[in-house]
């Protein structure tokens, strides 16, 4: 009759590295200290970000309160993710976050069509992360958010942040104007490799032009949500076959909030094609699965919930326990609570890798 939580025996006790935390501005005005008067006026007159006149809503209305945890609204007002004290109490302290990797979505310029405004937003959001988050909460670490369609600016902004210990990765949108293996994006990879910063890819709400599924524009948010996986697959295939990792052998990619269970099947399929048709891509020197094994990491949230939880560790065996990064997605509606979300058995060594050590290694954390 009464079913206790099935995962309580697996409650974790070690400090974790959360690889997906979303800080949010209370309003666009939070960025104004880091923007010139000209762009503050622009924001006031034309809108702070992606505009959809007269709607105030995203393309796909999202689950529960615009995609947020319904219990994450700060008592003092503002959207979920905008109040550091609440983030500490509800998340960082509550679940034992040792390091939290910020992924600043929305107003970072990745999705902005106005190219000049995109650079201003990018710079402002990075300043805002440093001053309003990392400086106030030493457990938090920032990602350099850059507008991937303007590679020249990206290089400049990445180099500007490279010596700043607040920044541990570069964030670009996997909903880019072209697949991410295209050469227009290579200067970004060159700069990231040179600075020793991994690239973090996290699905964004707005498209650079392509529909969010390869079948076309979806009807429901559920379809869009699933599209996080397939959209990421298209980018990985692009980056591998176009030779990004032949050209940038020290580049590291973190796939955030896009799943991982599909990776073994995709790698087998790519290997089969490569073995038969490598003449089309003679620049590739290694099997795609070898490249994936060396260059990609996978954040866990939203963790799949198979009927038999033991299927997940089998899949992780294929991918490698050293490739997973624990993530919660705080404060979004599909948050994974580290005390409850793991429903399968792990060894202590696997637990330490998954919750903490893989991320420490990837991001060079103490």
């Amino acid at each position: 009759m009464n079913a206790p939580l099935p995962s309580v025996t697996g409650a974790q006790k070690i400090g974790i590295v959360d690889c997906d935390i979303h800080p949010v501005q209370r309003s666009a005005a939070d960025l104004y200290p880091y923007m010139s008067q000209r762009w503050r006026e622009h924001s006031e007159m034309f809108g702070p970000h992606i505009r959809q006149g007269l709607t105030g809503m995203q393309v796909y209305p999202r689950m529960m309160a615009a995609g947020q945890r319904a219990d994450a609204y700060p008592a003092g007002g503002g959207p979920p993710g905008s109040d550091l004290d609440m983030m500490r109490a509800q998340h960082l302290d509550a679940v034992g976050v040792e390091w939290g990797m910020l992924v600043a979505l929305s107003k970072g310029g990745m999705e902005e069509r106005n190219p000049d405004y995109a650079t201003v937003l990018s710079h402002a959001v990075n300043e805002w992360q440093r001053h309003d988050w990392v400086a106030k909460e030493p457990r938090l670490l920032a990602g350099v958010v850059v507008p991937q369609e303007d590679a020249d600016f990206c290089v400049q902004e990445i180099q500007l942040r490279a010596q700043d210990k607040a920044f541990k990765q570069v964030i670009i949108s996997p909903r880019s104007a072209e697949p991410l293996g295209r050469r227009r994006y290579w200067p970004i990879y060159a700069a990231a490799q040179e600075c020793g910063l991994p690239i973090g890819l996290h699905p964004a709400a707005f498209s650079g032009g392509a529909p969010s599924t390869s079948a076309g524009w979806p009807t429901y948010y559920m379809q869009e949500h699933y599209g996080f996986c397939t959209g990421m697959q298209g980018n990985i295939v692009s980056m591998i076959f176009e030779g990004v990792f032949e050209r940038f052998p020290r580049l590291k990619i973190a796939l955030i909030e896009s799943g991982f269970t599909w990776m073994p099947a995709m790698a087998w399929r790519m290997d089969a094609a490569f073995e038969r048709m490598r003449k089309e891509v003679p620049h590739l020197k290694r099997r795609p699965s070898d490249t994936i094994r060396e260059h990609f990491w996978f954040a866990t949230q939203p963790l799949e919930e198979p009927e038999n939880p033991a299927h997940l560790p089998e899949i992780i065996d294929w991918i490698g326990w050293d490739r997973l990064l624990f993530s919660t997605d705080y404060p979004h509606w599909d948050y994974d609570d580290p005390r409850h979300c793991i429903r399968f058995r792990m060894t202590e060594a696997q637990r330490a890798m998954l919750f903490r050590d893989n991320a420490r290694t990837l991001y060079g954390l103490p």
């Binding site: 009464n2 079913a3 939580l5 219990d71 948050y335 994974d336």
Partner: protein
């Protein structure tokens, strides 16, 4: 489970009208008490799916569609949606709607008893102003 249940007075029935809820601490745990169309139910404030504070969630009904394009919301006020991931549970039974086979909430017995009865029994009523003419909600946990 051999733990003995204690009876807790959690408030006056008049203060918990149909559609209302009250979060209480009883037996060392947080429990939400609900009035659904005049009947009282109590649920543990921890979602069996992902540990969310279930009883602080949105009270709703069942969304049904006999066929694509034909939609209805039925049994309004009888379901509770977890504020974390949105799983829905029938308040009366703790039965989950998304995955009825595997996820069921811990339910507690809640009923309305007369104030006159309360003073006679061995329940924990100290912190409440017991008035004989009023109805009180008693929770077993």
């Amino acid at each position: 489970m051999s733990r003995t249940l204690t009876r807790h007075v959690v408030g006056r029935a008049a203060d918990l009208p149909p559609g209302g809820r009250k979060l209480v601490k009883a037996g060392g745990r947080e429990i939400g008490v609900f009035n659904v169309h005049g009947a009282y139910y109590a649920l543990a404030n921890i979602c069996p799916h992902g540990g969310g504070s279930l009883c602080e969630g949105f009270i709703t009904g069942l969304s049904v569609a006999p066929r694509p394009g034909q939609y209805d919301l039925i049994r309004a006020g009888e379901f509770l949606r977890c504020p974390l991931h949105g799983w829905e549970f029938e308040i009366a039974t703790g039965q989950s709607y998304c995955d009825p086979k595997n996820t069921r909430l811990r339910t507690f017995h809640a009923a309305v008893e007369h104030g006159a009865d309360l003073v006679k029994g061995p329940y924990v009523a100290e912190s409440f102003e017991v008035r004989v003419e009023e109805d009180y909600i008693v929770l077993e946990a």
